[in-house]
Symmetry: D2
Subunit: 401 residues, 4 copies
């Protein structure tokens, strides 16, 4: 029996791990297999080819690493940089903070550019640092595409433009954990050198795969990078890619078949349609928040996130109580406010395998919770605002027309 049974379906609206499609659950419902048989390398070859599409790259080299996002970060950093290397890193929320912590513990010389939580990366400071860096002491720019703690999406093409404007050779490393497959991301066009995501986010799989993609420049950098690494070393992968066996250590057979199914679904829907769907869900959520008279943690429209919305509660309310109540009364899982915004925001994740009516159910739940805890919300107001937008914008389902 489950530990905490509740009738009906759990409404999973944390910004990861997200809902898994039945198709993917089915694909993963299988015994182990010998990964050295010819079948697994053949499947892996196709997966590596196809996974590049979600990064929008043709020149990149993907790695499917049995790890989490934290491990994917470590893979990105240790393969391209050496201890003592100067890197610029933007601190805008809890996940960028954790990445910076990792960068410091890996002994890089981290030049932290901080923004108020709720604001995006300060690119003006980046510009001035790049301008001043005549001798190219900056080895890498590390940036989180979408800060999951605050619902802030950074402008990556602007970062690339600055690097180009200053003709700066720094590596461009991107955490796309809560963006890739949900928010427009263009590895090749934006000249990203390492991009990474985790299986449990917009790919809608269980946790367990850190997916890292390296540009030719990053692969080149990995040949001289002196950071100590073994488990995360790309060299081992590249050796096995060359041999055609692909795996330096045992992969999860189940996650490989799951990834196959997940990619098939994304391609069937169309990656751009997937992104448009997330855009609809994000917009609808923000309209509801506005209708409730609450503020989005994201301070400006330019940074709003289509995968997670952090909702600021009034000072007299503890946002953790919103989350607790959601779970205890409505079988609804919302995201807590973390660190600096703990108690101040709760988060609605709207990414992955999700549709509009699921979101509207969640929004109506949030309305009831707000009322439960004393915020004077008009029931139905947020749902109405969201629905008014969605009813004009939801497309027909292509397979059913």
């Amino acid at each position: 029996m489950d530990y905490t049974y509740a009738p009906g379906r759990n409404h999973l609206f944390v910004p990861g791990p997200v809902n898994i499609p039945e198709q993917v659950l089915r694909a993963m419902n299988r015994n182990n297999e010998d990964y050295r048989s010819p079948a697994i390398p053949a499947m892996t070859k196709n997966l590596l080819e196809d996974v590049k599409k979600i990064f929008k790259t043709t020149s990149g080299t993907p790695f499917l690493i049995p790890t989490t996002g934290t491990g994917a970060w470590e893979s990105a950093l240790t393969n391209t940089l050496s201890p003592g290397d100067r890197i610029i890193s933007f601190l805008i929320g809890q996940f960028s903070l954790l990445w910076i912590d990792q960068q410091q513990r890996l002994n890089f010389d981290v030049d932290v550019v901080e923004s108020e939580w709720g604001r995006g990366a300060n690119l003006d400071i980046l510009a001035s640092k790049l301008a001043a860096d005549r001798n190219h002491s900056i080895k890498a720019i590390c940036i989180v595409h979408n800060e999951t703690a605050t619902g802030v999406t950074n402008n990556l093409s602007a970062v690339r433009k600055l690097l180009d404007d200053y003709n700066h050779p720094a590596l461009f490393l991107v955490d796309g954990v809560s963006s890739i497959c949900a928010i427009d991301f263009r590895m090749d066009e934006w000249g990203v050198d390492v991009a990474l995501t985790g299986s449990q986010k917009a790919l809608s799989l269980p946790t367990g795969l850190g997916i890292v993609c390296a540009s030719p420049k990053a692969i080149e950098a990995s040949k001289t990078a002196k950071s100590v690494r073994v488990f995360f070393d790309w060299k081992d992968y590249l050796k096995f890619y060359k041999m055609g066996t692909y795996w330096p250590y045992t992969p999860s057979i189940q996650l490989l078949y799951g990834l196959r199914a997940a990619l098939d679904l994304i391609f069937e829907e169309g990656l751009d349609n997937v992104i448009a769907r997330h855009s609809r869900l994000g917009k609808a959520t923000r309209l509801a928040v506005e209708a409730w008279g609450l503020k989005n943690c994201t301070q400006s429209e330019e940074w709003v996130s289509d995968t997670v919305t952090a909702v600021v509660v009034p000072p007299y309310i503890d946002s953790a109580e919103v989350v607790r109540r959601a779970w205890k009364r409505y079988n609804l899982s919302l995201g807590l406010g973390l660190n600096k915004v703990a108690g101040k925001v709760f988060r609605i994740g709207h990414l992955g395998h999700l549709n509009e009516l699921q979101l509207l159910g969640c929004l109506s739940g949030v309305e009831m919770i707000l009322k439960d805890i004393g915020y004077p919300v008009k029931l139905g107001s947020g749902v109405a605002a969201a629905a008014a937008y969605l009813q004009n914008n939801i497309p027909m389902i292509p397979s059913r027309i």
Copy 2:
């Protein structure tokens, strides 16, 4: 790949088959087993004991028949009645109509008591017929507890009272397909002689089990009933019950384990709590319908159904278009209007493994559809009305307090 993929979860709001809990899907995810090993009879023994609880009977004998509701009907009739027997049967919608059709094809002398669709069984006529039947020519009263086509719940205790008032020995046969495990049903207290349901309804299993429960009086009747039957013959079951092997033919191992899991969940929630939850969901739906300015097909509060609501659309709208649009644009499955009410009503099923936020998502979808097809609904109105009620009435989840 599925035939008609759509992103996110399908919102299944037909009045059966209904959503299956993950716990039940897991329990059924298994290879076949030898049903003659000691394990299956041991499990069956417990299942038969426990299944009596959902009928609220201690004296009844349950049969788990590998069939559908239609087969369960046939089992109830052919085991207790003989060709030519006079029975009273109430025609109040499509499913009572189908049962009557079966009764006629089985060569009973069916005395049909018809009501307008949207109204319950006419018990005044029953009273007069019982009063007139001094020589007890009426062998059985056949009644659908909840008419799934119109969302009408009949008053079974009133039927029993009439039978008692007239001291009439007729068998009392009840189709509880869309009521048992969701709407208050009391086999022993109401003196029901045969009650039946199907696994794909409030039990929240796949289709495949017709569950029939017979009172001692019904078992007695089966010894002389002359209707021809083999597959549906209770005698074969009773013979195997006595031997302790339980199965006259091969059961579905998967459905047995699924039933075990389904009953465990029902007992964990508490049958009365399950019924209270359905009551909440039904009430909330009716409040939404009212807020939309639409009419419930059910013509009086006394018959409203807590498992299905048939919503009457204005004459200028084709209700089938509501259902089509729900599926094609919102991944929402609603029930069609059937037969006399085809085109006139669409149905919202709210039974089985379902919670409040799922329902509110559905209701917001219905609002958008109504607007799509030209009905001047105020978006959010129904959701608001439902939520206002629910926010006051949803209990905390016991396992999470």
Copy 3:
């Protein structure tokens, strides 16, 4: 937790229900769906077309009935015959006995032709009865293709030949429960009028689908057959086939997807290759039995069955003890001897999703059991005999060459 856990995989060698392929389990691992959406009729249409292939018919009409083999029998009989009709039926084992019991309870005039258990249908008697039946009082010949209780396969083409020789119009009804999809069966070529099987046999699905296929002549007969039937009535199906909605009552969504997967696997292997595989498994089993110095219940090579082998034990051994011990010590499920051969034979089912190494594991288990209970078997002898044959006859796996 399961009721009777044992380490490692259960070795399922009863002659049904059989092992389900992982691909089928995966396909069935899904929530319910609205069977009235366009998706299910579209799938059903393809299934009906494809299921005809396993009967080797192009002119037949298949019915996928939510029932077991017993129900499929009833469907075959009641749709084509009227009470009082004279039929010839062959009694050669427990399952033909049960079918005959059903025929008698359905009030046909059953002319039983009995053989010693272990022998096939006595076609000489059939010939004499046909010869004598100038006025065509015989309405149907009922025959079990493969008697599961004794491992006897009847010669259906010989039955057809007799009917042709005598130019007799009797319907030709075949129970193919343990033959179809495993033993060569040719509905059109042999002029079979109704053939039937169950999902849990060679199709390797869970129990729950009775699959019945009717020739044009049988369909014609159904228009005048007077047996009372509702649930099993083909007319209801045919009405819904015509409307294109296909289902007179709720099908099991899970079994439909499972059947789709099962047929896909059969077609990928190739039906004739599936049959050849069963032939190999049957032959190997018989060679092992011979090596053990035991006798096959089947009395002559002409009737040997490629799906089940009934092994005769010496008089001083109780065959039920073989089965009990298999389950209690070796996690091996064997078939009991039934009725007349109870205690005298145990049965090895070798049908469905099964390969040679699985069978050899079973045979080695049987050897140990025989030794356990005092039969002087030489360990390894049966396996060696089977392997000697198999090693010469197993083909390479086409997808892996």
Copy 4:
């Protein structure tokens, strides 16, 4: 459709990943959950308590790391040692070789003690090194309990005895990847400081959990160890253990429920019974190899492995052809010979969720393959030898007596 369909069940006899019990597959068949809800920490707490039992420790601290065995190695080393530390490491096969490679790349001063492949760790050399190391320059002894490439089990209690004899404080680090839960292992009794395994081995789960257990002494060492680490850093885990939330980054919900089910099965069978079962399977396999006239790669009885047997083929045979043929003709997955023994041995893995009849099926397959490729084996000989032993030693299944 699968990539390389073959009829019947795949016979998975590589030494990992191994067969997953249906109970575990079921437990893992679920949607994602919010791992920050109270349910997951509660489950984790129990898991950590229970996982200690498979290490036979009460004082150890376990870590469930989302990684593979290679990552678990890295966790063990980097948390307890500093670059430049002198360690003794035994090279006896491919997996000890890979661990040593990792140790060297992590910049330890590795004192490699090599044995011929097929022999165990040379403990005489260890003794002399310990004797000579008066100033305790040796910081750790690294040893693989069971070398999966050669089927060699080292004597860990002898290692402990030497450390005690010389009163040497070196840490005792053990790779138990292919031993723990299958071969007797006693962390506390043998004074092991870090022990580790992977989920896809004897625990019979999918790949994805590196399970590491640290003694108090190892935890103490981790406070000063200077190896750079972030993802694998125990400190992060310990911080979250203290807070009661347990997870520094997102765990795989599915693997947690799977681990719960796997431990439940192991405890139901009894850990010592699980080990005894592996002992039976190992012994039976070795008897078969002997009967075939082939040699075990393991050169002495003292090192034989109960989880994997590496079988030496005659010089005129390429062992890779045995493995290829097994897969292409018999749907049997065997282990290749690796590195020095490539082409010379093939490996039979007999660990995890496996029983005797499964093994016998495998052995009969190996016999046929050997004959296929020209080795003059007597079919049935190995099966007979194994069965003779097993028939005397298999216990009754407790739940079925």
